[in-house]
Symmetry: C2
Subunit: 254 residues, 2 copies
């Protein structure tokens, strides 16, 4: 009844164990897929939430080891925050974009602009622990893709996702913070519309759309930290999530 012509499937990766520092994440995900009778095929794309990547890479910090600065203490006291967590957010930031009402929107070392520099307390084991973003999410994606290739023989591009807020709009969506094996932006420059005229839309952030689509099968409380996308014809290429970050000189909302 259902035609699959040109269609796309999103499949949650279930049954992953609690990820520990040092785990081989690519292998864990591959094993979980096989256990669900899901066999990766060429041109599948794997979307992985940054949280398990950060855990596997030991990017979890114990707040009891953090000495907050005077600035962190003052902001934390004013807005009823943990000063040690504020300190970690500032250490992970290179620039503050907005700092108001207890909210810190900053630019991370990766050039990402997001709340709290991606520092996050949810879904981390210890009550005094916070999770940081991976040091180099493109490299994390590349490692997982390489493991998948070794184990399955298939080239499976990888997208590392995080959940970001947006200017002007309510609610968060998943975006791509790391990429391996696909071009994150699909360019339509020079192409014509159905009427033979140049397109207004010239570049689509398909890595962000893949991350957003994957979120729909992940949820936040079900422990589904990865999803497999089947049927999307991506442009193959090394790619980098840095391509998704607007250059400061072109950014009207710095």
């Amino acid at each position: 009844m259902v035609s699959d012509r040109g269609g796309l499937r999103l499949m949650p990766v279930v049954g992953l164990p609690e990820v520990q520092a040092g785990d081989d994440l690519g292998r864990l995900i591959y094993v979980a897929l096989l256990a669900s009778d899901l066999h990766p095929v060429e041109s599948d794309i794997l979307v992985v939430t940054h949280k398990i990547v950060a855990k596997a890479e030991g990017r979890v910090m114990d707040l009891s080891t953090v000495e907050p600065s005077e600035f962190s203490r003052r902001f934390a006291a004013q807005w009823d925050k943990d000063p040690r967590q504020v300190e970690v957010v500032l250490r992970e930031s290179v620039r503050i974009v907005r700092m108001d009402r207890g909210i810190i929107i900053s630019e991370t070392k990766h050039g990402l602009i997001c709340a709290n520099a991606g520092v996050d307390r949810s879904n981390v084991a210890g009550s005094d622990q916070v999770c940081l973003l991976p040091q180099d999410p493109d490299a994390s994606a590349r490692r997982i893709a390489d493991t998948f290739r070794m184990l399955s023989g298939c080239v499976v591009p990888v997208v590392i996702s995080d959940t970001f807020g947006r200017a002007w709009r309510e609610g968060l969506t998943n975006v791509a913070i790391g990429v391996a094996g696909i071009r994150p932006i699909r360019s339509y420059i020079g192409m014509l519309d159905t009427q033979g005229r140049p397109l207004r839309v010239t570049a689509l952030a398909i890595a962000d759309e893949l991350a957003a689509a994957a979120e729909l099968v992940m949820g936040k409380v079900d422990r589904v930290p990865a999803a497999l996308v089947r049927g999307y014809e991506a442009e193959v290429g090394e790619g980098s999530a840095r391509e998704l970050i607007r250059l400061p000189v072109l950014d009207m909302f710095r």
Copy 2:
């Protein structure tokens, strides 16, 4: 081989004719689905690009009827734009957010913040014609959903999408500008993470994620202006895309 447990499918709606003012869009899409042997079922979600909605509703303007203001002429001359199109953009705007380098980011009558107030020349028939956003995209979505219910007997929520830029990030993504039949935001307020602690992420803009996901099977040059999403358990409710617009008092990026 492929398990569908908890999975999600995105299916392009192909074979739609060129949409004309006055067309019954819900019926056209339904007929196109059946012709592709795609039978909508309860809990499917239909995503429709605003362009065909606007065309069906006659929201196409002939620039030869537009007399540009002095302000429109000056801006257009400075940046090599069509002064009549600049005039239409300003008429569709209630507030300019940024106006630089030939780019106008404004707030529309709907409260949406986007480039050129959504006024768009691509995929419109006449060379002097531009397409405006639907007057009331929630109502447009409601009409299509009602037609679907009448024809198929199924409750199929509808999302009207447009392609927007974002602050700080390169590339465009599809977002929801109209909604009927689902709650556009999924709230996790009060819910606990896998470790029993409150979640950092409290509200996900799932209507925007559905629009982004649907874009992946639409493309820009293939005349696929709608997609059917199957397998997503949405929160049913009347809903409105206005819920996705941040209240000015809470917006740090006005």
